[in-house]
């Protein structure tokens, strides 16, 4: 499966729902999406990975790059993920300490 991206505003946050596979081929599409949103002034991002079926370090790189980008405009980038296969990747790379990972969209969207 390719990569699907759906974005919508939820209060002061922008939610990006990602579906499919984030790999060396599709990751640039996610990078471009994040970059466009920040260029448009959206700096509080929530990326929902619940429908992601595969992610490698290229995907992690895009998320790290996105986090760096929003921080330059004093924004935030938080994740929604409960899939153990993905959480394991964050843990192995130590990125579970870098990202705030929520257990649900509602938790992410109401967090202070």
């Amino acid at each position: 499966m390719d990569l699907s991206l759906e974005t919508r505003q939820e209060g002061d946050r922008t939610l990006i729902e990602v579906g499919g596979e984030i790999d060396v081929y599709t990751a640039p599409k996610l990078r471009e999406c994040i970059s466009s949103l920040v260029d448009d002034g959206q700096s509080k991002l929530v990326i929902d990975l619940e429908q992601v079926e595969f992610m490698d370090s290229t995907g992690l790189g895009v998320l790290v790059g996105g986090l760096k980008r929003v921080r330059t405009v004093e924004g935030t980038l938080e994740l929604v993920c409960t899939q153990e296969r993905l959480l394991k990747i964050f843990r192995i790379t130590g990125l579970s300490k870098v990202f705030l990972i929520h257990g649900s969209q509602s938790e992410a969207l109401t967090a202070q």
Binding site: D23, D56, G61, V64, I92, G94, V98
Partner: protein
């Protein structure tokens, strides 16, 4: 229920340094592991390992069209009696600059998902070998 392969034969594929082809390599890895009746954990690990190794070799910034025709990535999958072996051989691209600030080694993820990982480099080409118990 699947019919396990009857031999310890290897499957070898070679792909151009094109990100669009990595998914195909992942699917082959999963199919070989599944056909060899390996547990789901090994199937998933093999899929991720092939994808990750190819991603590290292809990199994020290298234009596809600059790779020479014979500059390919070779993936070998071998279902032995006691283990499953994945070998990926190719030229490694420069590291993803996104990870510079956080000092993340490009092989960290592969190290974490493999039972055993070895990397050998010669003349600019690296061979990454990963194994999992059967």
């Amino acid at each position: 229920m699947g019919l396990a392969t009857q031999t310890e034969g290897a499957v070898t594929i070679a792909i151009a340094r094109d990100p669009a082809l990595v998914r195909t390599a992942r699917l082959v890895a999963a199919a070989v592991a599944r056909r060899a009746d390996r547990p789901d954990t090994v199937i998933e690990a093999a899929r991720l390992a092939v994808g990750e190794a190819c991603a590290v070799m292809i990199g994020v910034d290298e234009p596809v069209e600059t790779a020479a025709a014979d500059d390919r990535i070779e993936i070998s999958l071998r279902a032995e009696m006691s283990r499953f072996v994945v070998t990926v051989r190719g030229r490694i691209a420069p590291a993803d600059p996104s990870f510079e600030d956080i000092d993340l080694d490009p092989w960290t993820l592969l190290e974490g998902i493999s039972d055993e990982l070895t990397i050998e480099s010669q003349d600019g080409v690296s061979t990454v070998r990963m194994t999992w118990p059967a």
